[in-house]
């Protein structure tokens, strides 16, 4: 074994501990990233001359277990679960599959919550503060395995209805969205 092994080990340990910090960080009074609503949202993959390459805004809490678990609590408190059940859908569509009617990108989910959608999704503009919207986005993404496994919830406080977000399989978003159902 070469003499560099311990250094690599130490680097790995430091890297690991850093990710752990990020995962556990509780940012109560978040400023910049979460407070800025995204303005890059498109809902169509079809653009004259071909789609403009766009940087998808990273969801600020994709690697923050605390924020995702707060999102899970808000998902119940704000009655998201009343329409989307625990991800399987009811009045609103399922959120744990690969189908995204209005786009799967974090900014699209953000926009769905803030702006509402025409077929029944209420607009929560001015009702849910930006930081909490992002927490919800983090949780919604965890339902289809879009956040790291160690960030997603591993258990529920309530009656067992589905596998925990941590053990749900990844459902990568389908390239284009199916149309709204019903009509």
């Amino acid at each position: 074994m070469s003499s560099r092994c311990p250094e690599i080990g130490i680097c790995l340990l430091i890297a690991l501990s850093l990710t752990a910090c990020e995962r556990e960080d509780r940012r109560f009074s978040e400023a910049a990233a979460a407070a800025k609503a995204p303005d890059t949202i498109t809902q169509s993959d079809l653009q004259p001359g071909g789609p403009t390459p766009r940087a998808t805004l990273a969801s600020p809490y994709d690697d923050n277990a605390y924020a995702v678990s707060q999102g899970k609590q808000l998902f119940e408190w704000f009655n998201c679960s009343g329409c989307h059940a625990q991800g399987g859908g009811a009045i609103g569509p399922a959120l744990m599959d690969e189908k995204w009617i209005y786009g799967a990108a974090p900014e699209n989910i953000f926009a769905s919550i803030v702006e509402g959608r025409p077929n029944g999704m209420p607009s929560f503009r001015g009702r849910i503060p930006t930081q909490q919207v992002w927490q919800l986005v983090g949780y919604v993404r965890s339902l289809s395995g879009q956040v790291r496994k160690d960030v997603a919830s591993s258990r529920s406080d309530h009656l067992f209805m589905k596998k925990s977000e941590q053990s749900l399989p990844q459902a990568p978003p389908a390239p284009s969205s199916p149309p709204p159902q019903g009509q």
Partner: protein, 591 residues
Amino acid sequence: MRACGAGSLGIAASAAATLLAVSSLALAQEHAQWPAPAGDFANTRFSALTDINATNVASLKLNFAFSTGMLRGHEAAPIVTTDTMYIVTPYPNVLLALALDAPGAPLRWKYESLPNASSQGVACCDTVNRGAAYADGRVFFNTLDGQSIAVDARSGKEIWRTHLADINHGESITMAPLVVNGKVLVGNSGGEFGVRGWLTALDAATGKLIWRAYSTGPDSEVLIGPDFKPFYAQDRGQDLGVHSWPPDAWQRGGGTVWGWISYDPELNLIFYGTANPGPWNPDQRPGDNKWTAGIFARNPDTGAAKWFYQMSPHDLYDYDGVNENVLLDLDVGGRQRKVLAHADRNGYLYVIDRATGEVISANAFVHVNTIDKVDLATGRPHYVAEKKPVVGQVVRDICPHAGGGKDWQPSAYSPITRYLYIPHQNLCQDEEAVPANYIAGTPYVGANIKMHAGPGGNRGVFSAWDVAVGRSVWEIKENFPVWSGALATAGGLAFYGTMEGWFKAVDARTGRLLWQFKAGSGIIGQPIAYRGPDGKEYVAVLAGVGGWAGGVVSGDFDTRDASAGNGWGNAMADLPKFTQKGGTLYVFSLP
């Protein structure tokens, strides 16, 4: 053929003479037409036509089919006047008029009501509509976003529209209106959204509001006055619609009126049920929660309440009281009494004196473990303590489930067999009550539900109930809940549909299957029978799976989540293998 039909019609009519509805047929004109979803004021869903009968039904053939172009649950009944059939579709509530006097029944006209698309977000149990009503050259129907509309039956032109419900407070309308004495009776939906239930009467000529009776709140708004004479002591007192609730809770207490209304012209009373109290979590609303989960009798002209009976005081399980009240005359202890038969969500079939509100009998028609008896002296059900939902605890195997022993799907009564034909489910559930947070316009439920099949493993039943004796005569077990309405005919037949898409005719006396047809999608609509302009008898039904039970298909649930669709995800996970979406009208006749 024609003569033969008329002859047997005469026999049937005399057999049916004991039935109030037939003796006072202001509505159905010898049942040749079908001007309202229930066929008549008494809600019997009985057709006196006999062309199609037990001996020839095996040769019943599809006459024509017509796509509605909609994919959501089709719970409506087609309605028929002399030469036109009217169909109201689920959201976006298009009214189609089919010309029955032309070959293939082409569209005579089409009226688009264009409801607010956001109303889909406050429709608890699929975006259904239960049908239109015809009276005096007009067709009346309601839209999901809370409008009541009158359309000229000939031209398809709008006569009036009245906006009654507010989606921002969770209100919607799914029920079929009933037209009585020149008034259109309309009630709201939204018991899962913390709305305050009401029934409203509109002037059929102008659409102006004549009266509105709330199901909760002070007597003045419930239209309880000096005429109110409830049979049981617990329903007497000042402002019980306020005092049987925690402060202010009656404002969002449910008791919506989304089911069926019956009318007795002799007593000049309408009868209708009020839905569940909100939220489902009972700990958030201590008290009897009047006037939810019960039956009101009212004067249709003033709205004044005559009596009230509460099937489920302080309802624990979403046992709405909205199921149909079938009006019939019954021999009780040697005395003819005007009664109503009501198969309730709570699993008991009530026979109630409709003049006084006295419960004559109450017998379980499904497996019930939540209520062990109904005390006929006080009228109160006795709840089983260990099945009461508790916040933070899981109570297993509650029967019947939140959808009840039977949900909205209306039964039919044949005055010939004297049986009530009940389409229903056989489902139980595990439940954990959780705190419900009221946010106007969003669901207000407070229960985690996981449904499963009841004893026997079959999820649905179609049964014949002998009202006089108070017991089941025969039962047909179905794999899925029987979510369609029933139809009884003087031809000795009972019709119903299954969620797999089978439309079945069975022998009214024995329940023997005589004929079946596989439709393109599951059937949750209400079958009807009518005499066409050509003099032949037709049977019609809308297919198109959906509704609360069929949301797994119509709402594309992901059934890895057992709570999808309020618990149906678990119970109906295999439905997509048997049927897919798509609304189509099927009309059958003898060749």
